[in-house]
């Protein structure tokens, strides 16, 4: 079951194509990583799913219904470019933004108190926003994104401008939201956080979708049968002599008698590799190396760009 589905979305700004026939969907309870270089069309797609702008072609469905303004209150959107009124008091401003989401004033105050306590910013309630640090402002922005407790969230570069401690805090909050059953689109350049948080990804480049799927499936799809072996040997080891040509030794390093080697093998021959090594060395660890999302991202984008040129 998908919480949101965007079918064949196209959007042009004059001669510039922002999105070309892009379809994405978010499974209920999943976190979808929306990836792509700058200018790929991510923000346009997010705005279309948020009903801020309309697509030239294509349709968006929210919980199976055609997306309308009323669904917007069931979406929590944290935009990439975000700010607050500098001269306005923090508490009042949070109440204002919560009320714009359709929450009654008293209910808004109650919920805001809870979140302000949780994020330890209650003492700042009556201060002006300009007195707050950037991190604190981001916390306020996060709070007003989740204040109406929607079932679906869109976080556009949520970690930009946060210090590492607050990044962790926010990461845990996002995982908490997922635990409570929320579905999330998570748009970022930070690939490490994608691997940590996302279940699925969609990769967009130059207005087109170039890759999508479950993060594990994709990693499997792009794996290069690369294995890392760590072993111990009292005598110097000559791997090239031990292994046949089917095993391509990419690198080998040693620290006294501890060795770490990266070996590329033919598909499903890892047992042969182990069999070849075990008589000669003490195996410490053996694991397959999957490509990082970062590597996949860069290789895919470059491949497409080269093809177009």
């Amino acid at each position: 079951m998908n919480i949101i589905e965007a079918h064949n979305i196209s959007k042009n700004y004059g001669n510039f194509t922002a999105l070309d026939n892009v379809s994405i969907s978010v499974k209920k309870g999943h976190i979808l990583g929306l990836l792509g270089p700058n200018g790929a069309g991510k923000t346009t797609l997010i705005r279309i799913m948020n009903h801020i702008i309309a697509p030239d072609k294509g349709e968006v469905f929210f919980s199976g219904e055609k997306l309308t303004q009323k669904h917007v209150y069931q979406i929590g959107y944290l935009p990439e470019e975000r700010g607050l009124y500098k001269k306005m008091k923090v508490g009042e401003q949070a109440i204002y933004l919560a009320r714009l989401k359709g929450i009654h004033r008293n209910e808004a105050i109650k919920r805001l108190r809870y979140w302000f306590d949780k994020f330890a910013i209650t003492p700042w309630w009556n201060r002006k926003v300009e007195e707050l640090s950037k991190g604190m402002q981001q916390k306020v922005q996060f709070i007003v994104t989740v204040i109406h407790e929607p079932a679906f969230y869109i976080f556009d570069e949520p970690f930009s401008g946060f210090d590492p401690i607050n990044v962790n805090l926010l990461k845990n909050e996002i995982l908490d939201l997922k635990k409570q059953g929320a579905s999330i689109i998570f748009s970022t350049h930070n690939m490490a956080s994608v691997e940590e948080l996302c279940d699925d990804i969609v990769l967009i480049n130059k207005a087109e979708k170039i890759l999508e799927g479950n993060i594990k499936t994709i990693k499997n799809q792009f794996k290069e049968n690369l294995f890392q072996v760590q072993f111990q040997s009292a005598n110097p080891v000559d791997l090239t002599g031990l292994l046949t040509e089917n095993f391509d030794i990419q690198s080998i390093e040693n620290n006294e008698d501890e060795y770490t080697a990266l070996i590329k093998i033919q598909a499903n021959t890892q047992n042969d590799l182990l069999n070849a090594l075990i008589p000669h060395v003490n195996i410490k660890s053996f694991q397959e190396i999957f490509p990082s999302m970062n590597d996949i991202f860069i290789s895919q984008v470059n491949k497409i760009n080269l093809k177009n040129n």
């Binding site: 309309a54 209150y73 959107y77 470019e81 607050l84 714009l100």
Partner: protein
């Protein structure tokens, strides 16, 4: 709808709480009051009291002190001229007026050590003339100047000069000669007020829109409300701020003027001695008839006052006030939405300039040609400027006080209808530019871009 109300509330209360609003609201009427009162106060109180010692050898000027002008005080002396000159040198006396005996023409010499206040010499001369004329009236006609004034005033007040306008159809209409100036003044004042208010509050809209855009809070807000709701909310919010400020100003100005009138009655009334004197009319008041030439020489400011009141009474104030409010509100909405569109389209204050000019131009033009409109309120320039929505708020208000001869009812209806249509078109165009513009950053916007945005479906 509810969201727009929330936006209006925030816009309103945030602005009203601001120090700049409070300062401007307090300083506004103060500045206005100062502007109005300073010239009057200057005339009345800037003159330092001067005491002039008089040596009158002609015995023709025994009553130089005037009840109306207390700024110069005359003290008569019996000392000799040389003694008085010494007193002047030793600063015992401020100034010396020496009037020698002269059978042919009476006259005097004013001795001073330093220059006296502005207009003292002419004041002294005026006092001497008045004194002499009183002497002549009493001695030769046996009547006092005051009684004569009252008599003349009563007789001449009945004089009125009429003016008849004949329009193209040969229809005649009557107006008093003085009316045109009053109409002109009222038209100009309303026009200028509209001009100032539109610019003041529209700049506020522009500033607020730009602030939201540069802050990027607009991104957060558009995730829960439509851009057009935000825009309308802002415009209406600022309109309420303007109306609040206007109301505070009007009320405080009325109170202030009331206080001033009570505390300094002389500032507003030219002369209240006449009233006191009327009670003791001389017995021969009605038998005495002065010659025509004497009437002509005497000027009475009361004629002007009466005519001023008559001219004011002739103006349809209900219509004028309703029209003022109509054009104030619609003119504000028209320009405010265009300003909001500019604020939404550009990235920073510096970029607003290129788009401001074409919007400001029509209003400025209306302001510049307002003189021609006032000179010929029924002419074709006046007609076209008061029909086109961008200029009509100013042009129509200048024409309206001139009444039905200048503006036909159908013209007013046409102007108002076009203004409403213009308003809707402006809001529609502005909404299209605004909703695209507020989400665009870092791009230098051209007119071509604006045109493209207007053409977008959404």
């Amino acid at each position: 709808m509810n969201k727009i109300l929330i936006i209006i509330r925030r816009e309103y209360f945030e602005a009203v709480k601001k120090k700049s609003f409070i300062i401007m609201t307090i300083l506004g009427p103060l500045l206005m009051a100062i502007l109005v009162l300073t010239p009057a106060l200057l005339v009345k109180y800037a003159k330092d009291d001067t005491t002039i010692t008089v040596l009158d050898e002609s015995h023709l000027f025994s009553n130089l002190n005037s009840p109306n002008d207390k700024s110069i005080h005359y003290v008569y002396s019996n000392k000799s001229l040389s003694e008085l000159k010494n007193d002047l040198l030793s600063k015992e006396i401020e100034a010396l007026l020496y009037i020698p005996y002269n059978s042919v023409t009476p006259g005097g010499m004013l001795y001073t050590t330093s220059s006296l206040g502005r207009g003292v010499t002419s004041n002294v001369l005026a006092s001497m003339k008045r004194n002499l004329s009183n002497e002549i009236l009493l001695n030769e006609f046996n009547i006092s100047q005051d009684s004569l004034n009252i008599y003349i005033e009563n007789q001449t007040n009945k004089i009125m000069l009429g003016q008849t306008f004949i329009n193209k159809n040969g229809e005649e209409s009557h107006k008093e000669s003085y009316h045109k100036d009053v109409q002109l003044a009222i038209g100009f004042i309303s026009g200028i007020l509209i001009y100032i208010f539109i610019f003041m509050y529209c700049s506020m809209v522009l500033r607020n829109v730009l602030e939201e855009k540069t802050n990027r809070i607009v991104e957060i807000i558009t995730s829960s409300v439509k851009p057009i709701q935000l825009m309308i909310g802002k415009i209406v919010g600022v309109a309420f701020i303007g109306l609040t400020q206007l109301l505070i100003w009007i009320v405080s100005l009325v109170i202030l003027l009331g206080v001033v009138q009570v505390s300094f009655p002389t500032v507003f009334s030219n002369d209240n001695t006449n009233i006191a004197v009327t009670e003791n009319l001389p017995d021969d008041y009605y038998q005495y008839k002065p010659s025509n030439s004497q009437i002509a020489e005497i000027q009475d400011s009361n004629i002007m006052d009466n005519e001023f009141v008559a001219a004011l009474a002739n103006i349809n104030f209900t219509q004028l006030i309703l029209m003022f409010l109509f054009f104030f509100i619609t003119g504000y909405f028209l320009y405010a939405s265009l300003y909001a569109a500019i604020g939404g389209a550009v990235d920073n204050n510096a970029d607003t300039q290129q788009f401001m000019l074409p919007i400001t131009l029509p209003l400025l033009l209306a302001f510049i040609v307002s003189q021609y409109i006032a000179e010929n309120p029924g002419g074709s320039i006046a007609f076209w400027f008061s029909i086109i929505p961008l200029t009509s708020p100013i042009a129509m208000l200048i024409r309206l006080p001139f009444g039905i001869e200048a503006v036909q009812s159908w013209e007013i209806i046409l102007s108002c209808s076009l203004m409403l249509i213009g308003c809707m078109v402006a809001v529609w165009i502005a909404a299209k530019i605004y909703r695209t513009g507020i989400l665009m950053y870092g791009k230098k916007i051209t007119y071509k871009d604006l045109w493209k945005w207007i053409k977008y479906n959404q």
